[in-house]
Subunit: 313 residues, 2 copies
Amino acid sequence: MAMSTNRSIAIVGSGAMGGYYGARLASAGFPTHFLLRGDYQAVRERGWTVKSCDGNFAVPADRLHAYRNPTDMPKVDLVVITLKTTSNGELRHLVWPLVGEKTILLTLQNGLGNEDELARHFGAERVVGGVAFVCINRTGPGIIDHISHGLIHIGDFVGGAEASRRVEEIAEDFRSAKIRCQAIPDLLSARWQKLVWNIPFNGLGAVLDMTTDRVLGSDTGRGLVSALMEEVVDGAMGQGLAMPAGIIEKQIGRTPEMGAYASSMQIDRQQGRPLEIEAILGEPMRRANHAGVPTPHLATLYQMAKMVDGERV
Amino acid sequence: MAMSTNRSIAIVGSGAMGGYYGARLASAGFPTHFLLRGDYQAVRERGWTVKSCDGNFAVPADRLHAYRNPTDMPKVDLVVITLKTTSNGELRHLVWPLVGEKTILLTLQNGLGNEDELARHFGAERVVGGVAFVCINRTGPGIIDHISHGLIHIGDFVGGAEASRRVEEIAEDFRSAKIRCQAIPDLLSARWQKLVWNIPFNGLGAVLDMTTDRVLGSDTGRGLVSALMEEVVDGAMGQGLAMPAGIIEKQIGRTPEMGAYASSMQIDRQQGRPLEIEAILGEPMRRANHAGVPTPHLATLYQMAKMVDGERV
């Protein structure tokens, strides 16, 4: 499949997500610039190796550009941001060298507040957000394991006719790189729909160190998941966002097929990494409360998650 | 010190608490009958050995009576119940052989609902409750380590003039056995005051596997402890119980001097034993809610504790 534009792309935050989507884009021929830390040497020498449920592939080192330092990178047409939200304090510093007059910033990060952060530093008119439904691991330096799914929903932060055309063009480029991608009209609503799942399973998963099957393994667990989901749905609707009917039953119902799934926050806890508490739990809670929707279960979970996170050495 | 009566006593639930207080009573000369499981052989052969902050002592085997089976035991004047509340299903079966016409039942168990359980089976007029402030461990078969404190507040379940005379007599007997003991007019209020501390530190201690110093080690932790304590105080006052002014500050303030203290529920979790969730968390929550007082933080904590408890193998 040929690429539809010759858009130049930078990937900031080249963990599993950035590595996978960036490798797809580079493989399709887009000039792709990776900002790397731990994987720099491996990717510069051997490129990316991707084991994928959609077919394995590799991107040789001469088909991509690897950097250690953002000031060495060119300005690009599109910056894809997959940085962990706990590093958002570095966003401005990492992204500004890449930003030219017409550069678009696409954040695929978790939770809420990332578009706002980018808008604050670089102007809201550049900002596009995406919600990724994908299961990927980084299994070694420059080595990615794409386990399942892969769809991205992308939408403009501000909205409007021109913006939606721009988002549609990005979606086409992504599809030309074999990335399933759909432009959506309401980004914020999509983020909240994902939070309906993420808040209980990331929050309880991290605090209780339980995989999804164990969280749902008792009436009490299912009851608490439901209660948390109801607060999230109420919080979204309290802000005037549309939520599909039956979303709670649907989100709970699709979880057992994931097996003994460890949420990203549970894995972060197990590996002693910072938890994405503010993006996934704190910011949604504050927005719901600001709209007058109480979230007592979420508030307790948020505080307990902060206590767990505060104990990292 | 001479004993003031010749009251015969049975100890049901001879863990650390039952062993310690029973050993004191036997040592003072009260005919004391221990219902034992794991410690039966050791206590029958070598009696109790008590290392105590108030002075070490031992009770030789010929100064006590040890049993494996309640039906082998005599009817007594006073049954002291120190069984774990998670075994309350066995209470009726264990206690009935000891109960004669005038037998008094004194429960020193944790939390709420134990007096009610005894009253249901044996009649409310027999029931006395006690709140123990004591730090004791069982360090081996028949071996007790009394680390600090030891005061018991006891009060009648039903109340009234005759009852309070009876409670005062028990308190005198206990004091004659070198057990610090005070008769109190309002047992339920005393139980709730203890719950103000027990609910946050047992609940969070078990769910997060954190000692008291770690629970209080962050602003978030202190905030969550306060929020839980407020719900407990509101729950008590919502039922018309008196709570001392400044109790929350006092209960938090006295905690740091306990050092890295592991609550009983945290230790139960670490050792894979059932957690006393209903007595310490569930019953107080239900009573507060029944009185119209919402307890959202406690409800979340209760559910998470049940999820943790449900995972014991």
